[in-house]
Amino acid sequence: MKTGILRFPGSCDEVDAQLAAQLVGEAVLLWHGDRDLQDVDAVIVPGGFSYGDYLRAGAIARFSPVMESVIEFARDGGLVLGICNGFQVLCEAGLLPGALLPNANRRFTFRQVELEVVEADTAFTSACPAGELLSIPAKHGSGRYYADEATLDQLEESGQVVVRYRPDQNFNGSLREIAGVRNTDGNVFGLMPHPEHAVDALTGSTDGLRIFESMRAAVEGAHV
């Protein structure tokens, strides 16, 4: 599998995502000004503060040349994972439903959180047993998942809520404890916590590796 990780001015966790993706295949950085996705099998929109988060987190990055290609790639069924700022970018780009608002505690907050895998039958979570708790760090200032009630009902009904915070760990105040959602086709997934920072026992947990392993399984399954 070949993964492409976008690099915007202001991206911070792109190299971390590359290191994580390299554990399951090849991984390259894709410059924001280039439209060529270099034939990657999957795209990661990484964490950080793309374009300084000016205007609104993710609001400017969605208009970059590389995002035009990513939107097309996603429409064609390509796997796209958005992490933290990347999740915000995907929501701004309309590839994922909802929005991320400033945290309920109004502060940037770093915490190791436990995520409940709500949907284990997805291209991003197939390596996780349903109901399993993943210990993954979260770190953001605007991670409060928001959508209107009707949308939230619909997301839950259609199995688009993929991961939730353990209820006592929902520090950002996300509605219905939602930590990550996918699109209706299931090929685009965004979450606020950072699975790429949970791939090595030395620096934390290895639970995040399941996300990357799931993506590899989805890509390689599709190739067979």
Partner: protein, 730 residues
């Protein structure tokens, strides 16, 4: 610009003395004009010229086997093996933070990061050292704390550099002068190491990064006052405003330029802006530089030449490049959306010549600007009266041992820093092996399986009681912290935060502290590779506590053996290691009881402490012990609480009941460690050093028996108390 030359009173207003002004006139051969006076006043300030500290700083040890770059460059650097260097430095941003804590702290982080990438290293970690007034009594101190922490987080988080450690203390002596010191570490290839000396007559001087505005034109704004015949009143000074996004681009752009070998020399623009950067580069390179201020990209078109020369706008770099590389350099800047402009040329004149288009508006010998500032001798005199008021009593001296422990664990100087550090990203860049509260020092993995360890420390209360012994304690504690994770010190950085050095008692504090740093760093073989001085931290109520902040970087061969502070397993043996002779003098307990500072502290045996550090270091490296924690504020009872809370594992401990139980439980001193491990391992360790087995890990309470007295507290109660700072951040 004004035809009228500035006069003596303008020089005085800018902080020069009459004698200094006369010396400037002599060096110039005539009274300086506006641009020249502005530049002299900045370069001859304490901040740039270290005129009251230089002689002392010369006494510090600066050489050692690992030192690659010592003091005098943007940052120091030590060799960490496999062709890599670690650059590091601590710097203060105290005064700006007292005025505007968010931007002051944020730009403090921005400034220290530029120092790191200016020498060719990618910033990999930030630590901070903060001091505020009595937060239990002072609303202003709570405000400063909250906003300074938010500012540090804002900058470090946004730029993608982890904040991996730090410390904060609250003392009334900092009420009017908070301290915000930031330390940064960088990693880079040794062959990419960059110096700031300008070289190559005819080479191009290029500025890149943010445009230049009127921010940070502090003292120099006096020049724009009516006395000079200039009616403009809109040149008011403003606090510098940081933009981490601009700095992120600047950093990536600089690192790419260095990697491509396009830069001859590089310097960041910090205090005193273009004046300081250009003059330092010219001085170190023994050349001259011509600058045309009209070529500098400006935020406000009508800026005066002196304003452009002294502006402290953030996120700017100055480099010297070969003429043939101008297009290539500017192309890289364009790629990163960083503006750039060639503004001058390296000359062989040894003069700084400032032009405004074709008009020469300032001409000064580089040597006069940089080297000829008078250096003053201090007049140290130990004060005959106590300098500091006794703290308010917060704990009844008749309180029980258990209640006293709970009060200490919940006191602002000891309670958990989680509400602060969880506003920082400690893990970006995927190197952080030990985060805050996991170990006594932060641990950062290196590519070859080894690891860096870093610690920052500075207990001003103990230094105030005894500048020499207190400072020894600070330096030794840094090294003890490194030992607890298994690291050997490679080098040290320091930030000397003191009051007015022209006052004999402050001069005495400063001299004694520097003498202690020299002695301790020599004994530890951890030379000073760089640092900073922040003087004049005092108001009407007197000076701050003398606060030498020490940052130390060490190396361990095997990252997988990095130590941790928390107990590990039920049933393990707990031992007290080291030549530990606790005393309540200047301790946190005595502070809570409202006792005044003593005059002097018990003597520290540097060699004995160093010897036990080596034993602890090796025991951690070998995996012989499972945890190690240095005994510091609050004594052994607090250290045991921290080991227990970090692991959510209780302990039952018995301490020697001879002597004063309060001293045994809460006394402080250098050289004590709590280690835990299997009984056989502790027995093995006892063959290497003096240790006392004091108890076992287990249960959900902490039980400490001393003589006839017993402390018995549930971990849940200790934890509640330990989390007391959270209430401030609700």
């Amino acid at each position: 610009m004004s035809e009228q030359l500035p006069a003596l009173k303008d020089a005085l207003a800018l902080g020069l003395t009459e004698a200094e002004y006369e010396l400037v006139c002599e060096k110039q051969g005539s009274p300086p004009n506006q641009v020249e006076l502005a530049m002299y006043s900045l370069l001859w300030s304490e901040h740039c010229a270290y005129k009251h500290s230089k002689k002392l700083l010369m006494t510090l040890p600066t050489e050692g086997p690992a030192v690659v770059m010592g003091p005098g460059e943007n940052a120091g650097a030590v060799d960490v093996g496999d062709g890599l260097i670690c650059a590091f430095k601590v710097e203060s941003h105290n005064h700006p933070s007292a005025v505007e804590p968010f931007q002051g702290a944020a730009t403090g982080v921005g400034g220290i990061l530029r120092d790191i990438f200016a020498i060719g290293a990618r910033p990999i970690a930030v630590l901070d050292s903060l001091r505020f007034g009595d937060i239990e009594a002072s609303e202003r101190s709570r405000y400063l704390l909250e906003h300074a922490v938010a500012g540090i987080g804002h900058y470090g988080n946004s730029i993608g550099v982890p904040t991996v450690g730090g410390e904060v203390y609250f003392e009334a002596a900092y009420e009017k002068n908070c301290l915000v010191n930031a330390m940064a570490l960088g990693l880079g290839p040794r062959e990419q190491l960059m110096r700031s000396a300008a070289a190559g007559v005819g080479n191009v001087v290029l500025i890149y990064g943010a445009s230049t505005g009127r921010d940070g034109i502090g003292g120099a704004s006096v020049l724009a006052s009516a006395e000079l015949g200039d009616a403009d009143d809109d040149k008011r000074p403003t606090v510098q405003v940081g933009d981490p996004f601009e700095e992120k681009k600047l950093m990536e752009c600089s690192l790419e330029l260095l990697e491509l070998g396009l830069i001859v020399s590089l310097q960041d623009l910090g205090a005193a802006g273009l004046t300081s950067s250009a003059c330092e580069m010219a001085s170190k390179g023994e050349v001259g530089i011509d600058i045309d201020v009209r070529k500098v990209p400006l935020r406000e078109a009508d800026m005066e030449p002196f304003e452009i020369m002294v502006s402290e706008s953030q996120e700017r770099m100055l480099c010297v490049i070969e003429p043939k590389d101008v297009d290539a350099v500017r192309a890289i800047c364009d790629k990163w959306e960083v503006s750039s402009a060639a503004i001058g040329e390296v000359t062989d004149t040894r003069l700084m010549r400032i032009y405004s288009d074709a008009e020469l508006v300032g001409e000064m010998p580089v040597e006069a600007l940089v080297d000829d500032c008078p250096i003053y001798d201090l007049q140290p005199q130990k004060p005959s009266e106590p300098l500091y008021d006794a703290p308010p009593q917060r704990l009844d001296p008749s309180a029980s041992l258990s209640d006293s422990l709970l009060a200490l664990v919940g006191s602002p100087n000891i309670s958990s820093r989680r509400p602060l550090f969880e506003q920082y990203d400690p893990i970006v860049q995927s190197r952080t092996v030990r985060r805050p509260e996991q170990a006594d020092a932060a641990v950062l993995a290196l590519p070859n399986g080894s690891a860096l360890a870093v610690s920052i420390d500075g207990n001003g209360r103990r230094v105030a009681a005894d500048p020499y012994q207190g400072t020894l304690g600070v330096v030794l504690e840094c090294a003890s912290n490194l030992a607890c994770v298994g690291a050997q010190p490679l080098g040290t950085t320091n930030n000397l935060n003191f009051g007015n050095p022209e006052k004999p008692h402050v001069a005495w504090q400063l001299s004694e502290a520097v003498r202690a740093i020299a002695d301790a760093c020599t004994a530890l073989e951890a030379p000073i590779v760089g640092g900073n001085v922040s003087l004049y931290n005092e108001g009407a109520s007197g000076p701050i506590f003398p606060t030498p902040v020490i940052g130390m970087v060490g190396l361990m061969p095997d990252v997988s053996r990095a130590g941790r502070l928390g107990f590990v397993e039920e049933g393990e043996t707990i031992a007290l290691v080291g030549p530990f002779s606790p005393s309540l003098d200047a301790s946190e307990l005595s502070k809570l009881r409202g006792e005044p500072l003593p005059d002097g502290l018990p003597e520290v045996d540097i060699e004995a402490v160093r010897a036990v550090q080596l034993v602890v270091r090796d025991a951690v490296r070998e995996g012989l012990v499972d945890s190690a924690h240095d005994i510091a504020e609050g004594g052994i009872a607090v250290a045991l609480t921290e080991c227990a809370l970090a692991a959510s594992l209780g302990a039952a401990v018995t301490l020697d009941g001879q002597g004063d139980v309060w001293q045994a439980l809460f006394g402080e001193a250098s050289g004590g460690f709590i280690v835990c491990g299997h009984a056989t391992a502790i027995a093995q360790l006892s063959e290497r050093t003096e240790l006392i087995v004091i108890g076992k890990v287990g249960g959900d309470e902490l039980r400490i028996e001393v003589g006839d007295e017993v402390i018995e507290l549930a971990l849940s109660d200790l934890r509640t108390s330990h989390r007391s700072l959270e209430a401030l951040f609700q």
